[in-house]
């Protein structure tokens, strides 16, 4: 199978032409990558197809603050297929003001080695 994606590693935005196969266990393996100007593009293509990672941003409820919500994000990418699981955890959380940008709201969410951190001060 073949797919074309735009590389997002640097502003060049190379169009990566990727050949890949779907294995018996449902996993994808890349067989070739064309169109990348640098090796990072190839790495990105492989990761995108075989184990895509994403950062997500959302909000948590704040009590006793000047705003009802504090924005949060993952401090590192998580596997794309776990996005909704992580969202479920984020939805459970209410924090009490004050919240500072950088505060760890959920440590090592779902054991993925990634924290959910606040991105806004709410006093």
């Amino acid at each position: 199978m073949n797919r074309e994606i735009t590389c997002i590693v640097c502003p060049n935005g190379c169009t990566l032409n990727i050949d890949f196969e779907k294995n018996g266990d449902g996993k994808t393996s890349v067989t070739s990558v064309r169109g990348n100007l640098c090796p990072r593009g190839r790495d990105y293509a492989v990761q995108e197809m075989e184990s895509p990672m994403r950062t997500i941003a959302s909000s948590v409820l704040v009590t006793g603050g000047e705003l009802p919500l504090a924005s949060v994000r993952t401090n590192a990418p998580i596997p794309k297929e776990r996005i909704f699981d992580v969202m479920k955890e984020v939805r459970k959380v209410t924090v009490a003001a004050p919240v500072s940008a950088g505060d760890v709201i959920i440590k090592d969410v779902l054991g993925l080695g990634v924290d959910i951190i606040a991105t806004k001060d709410v006093f």
Partner: protein, 414 residues
């Protein structure tokens, strides 16, 4: 409370990424008598509601969320104790640079030596598109939806159709999906998407949200609340093709159909406007046609990367500092005009004696584009761009040493 009448060297209208970057740079250049006027309760501008990441890649080498990017500049502003007032709306700026603002404590009047306009932009509305149909509840622009969700903790709807593949629309497609709404599809009237490829990938493809190009909303149904939208294919004139109508039941229509620089104050101050950018005509110092009146950021022309906004604002601050310290700036008499395939350029006038930062957008996608800056037959500067897209502003420096004796520059892309 007595109303306040003040004198200031510089008044900055708008405490968002452009205004704050300008303030910090001005201060570091020795102009410290500054006052920032911000209409919200907090500094940060539109970034406060842009909670997704992707900001600051160029500027800080990190991928930050909007509030975090804003915080960098807010912290720098606070560190320097640069005066600012929030909950203040500027209602008039005169050509003589008298700034009048409304605040709960009284009317604020400031006579400034220089005024920096960084008010940002607004969104194009349904009315401006003259979409036919009824006028039920449930039709809103993407930025408003973003504000409701991220700042006010309100969910605007559950079954969503999005018109326009602008970045904000795509960001909201993802945001709404993450919060449990069902985004039925994104429809774009042009044959090419108007937002960044990264967003198409990470906001639409990731969530199996279909993107249909060359489609538009041709009718709206529902008396009290939106019940459905009719989507039609469009022809090369962007007109709906009869017979291609398809009805999509939904309860919310989100519009992401363009941003318009918010220039009422600029016009009120007498600045000459550019019909292409919808912002003021500026020179390489970001000075408008009114001496001492400067503009940067989305109010000048709509940006896609806030990193460029900060850069532009800092360049402005250099110019404004010089203006305040020397009383005037060198004349900019050399016009820059748009040639083939270029939609607009900033600035529109230069001295010809200094390096300057040229920003432009192409009119259509061009692979292996060559951007040329010409003075008649003489090539002044050239830049290669692998994939030039209207959605991505192009910026580069034009060196002074090539500008000797130029009379008019034309920027084109092939």
């Amino acid at each position: 409370m007595a109303e306040r009448k003040m004198q200031k060297d510089v008044v900055i209208v708008g405490g968002g990424p452009a205004g704050l970057a300008a303030a910090v740079r001005l201060y570091d250049k020795g102009v410290k008598d500054i006052l920032i006027l911000e209409r919200e309760s907090k500094l940060g501008g539109i970034l406060r509601q842009c909670i997704h990441d992707g900001f600051g890649l160029t500027r800080f080498g990190e991928t930050l969320s909007g509030p975090e990017y804003a915080k960098r500049f807010i912290d720098e502003t606070l560190k320097r104790n640069i005066p600012y007032i929030t909950d203040t709306t500027v209602i008039n700026v005169t050509p003589e640079k008298l700034v009048i603002a409304a605040h709960a404590d009284g009317l604020i009047e400031v006579q400034a030596k220089a005024v920096i306009l960084t008010m940002g932009c607004r969104e194009r509305t349904r009315g401006a598109l003259a979409i036919p149909g009824t006028r039920p509840a449930g039709i809103l622009t993407a930025g408003v939806a973003q504000s409701y969700i991220n700042l006010h903790n309100r969910m605007p709807g559950r079954e969503i159709v999005i018109l326009g593949s602008g970045d904000i629309g795509m960001i909201m497609a993802r945001r709404l999906t993450l919060e449990g709404a069902h985004v039925i599809g994104v429809f774009e009237v042009m044959p090419i998407p108007s937002g960044l490829p990264r967003n198409i990938e990470q906001c639409l493809h990731d969530y199996d949200i279909p993107l249909s190009l060359s489609h538009t909303v041709s009718d709206i149904k529902g008396t009290d609340r939106l019940e459905s939208v009719t989507i039609s294919e469009v022809d090369e004139h962007l007109q709906p093709i009869p017979g291609t109508e398809k009805e999509y039941p939904c309860d919310t229509l989100i519009l992401s159909v363009g941003l318009i620089p918010e220039n009422e104050l600029t016009i009120g101050a007498g600045a000459v406007m550019d019909d292409h950018t919808k912002g003021p005509v500026v020179d390489e110092f970001c000075q408008t046609s009114v001496p001492g009146l400067f503009a940067a950021g989305n109010v000048l022309h709509v940006h896609d990367l806030v990193d460029f906004v900060s850069l532009e604002a800092e360049a402005l601050a250099d110019g404004a500092a010089a203006y305040v310290q020397e009383g005037s700036l060198p004349a900019c008499n050399i016009p820059i005009n748009c040639g083939a395939n270029v939609g607009h350029t900033i600035p529109q006038k230069i001295t010809g004696a200094r390096d300057f930062q040229l920003s432009l957008r192409v009119r259509k996608p061009i692979e292996n584009a060559v951007i040329r800056v010409m003075d008649g037959d003489r090539e002044i500067a050239r830049r290669k761009v692998r994939k030039a897209l209207p959605a991505e502003m192009i910026q580069f420096t034009v060196k002074a040493k090539y500008l000797t004796d130029v009379s008019e520059l034309i920027v084109s892309a092939e």
